[in-house]
Point group: C2
Chain length 84, copies 2
């Protein structure tokens, strides 16, 4: 990609590291409610294997999925991404 601007210095976060950290956060919020993965998947209207993949950090959920997940967990998106 041709860049027309000087690059800004930053340390980009690797997407898979972020996905894994989000998965841990989801698990933390889920277990705080004493919910099984199946229960959370059900509450968020997602398939259980998809939810499993989110907690493993192997999925790349969209904003819509993330919104449904935060809603199901009863937290804001800001809280879902705490320290991320």
């Amino acid at each position: 990609m041709t860049r027309g601007h000087s690059p800004t210095y930053r340390v980009p976060r690797k997407p898979d590291v972020v996905a894994k950290a989000l998965g841990q956060r989801v698990r933390e919020l889920r277990t705080a409610k004493a919910w099984s993965q199946e229960r959370l998947a059900d509450e968020a209207g997602m398939h259980r294997t998809y939810m499993w993949g989110i907690e493993q950090g192997t999925r790349n959920p969209s904003l819509r999925h993330l919104t449904r997940l935060a809603d199901a967990l009863g937290v804001s998106l800001e809280s879902l991404f705490e320290r991320l």
Copy 2:
């Protein structure tokens, strides 16, 4: 969908409302840097029309896209989703 549990009371956020609010937040962070949409698209490695759609709230960006966007803007994901 058959639900095996009693539904938890909550007020779900509509995904398109969240997408629009996120778009406004991106615009706010971008203009604070005095960057054009083109500049931000370039920094985040996205196409300019895709970035335009994110700011309009008509796109459904994935976690990877959101991570690249936060990195380009120099903020955490938590900050990107401030008050969301």
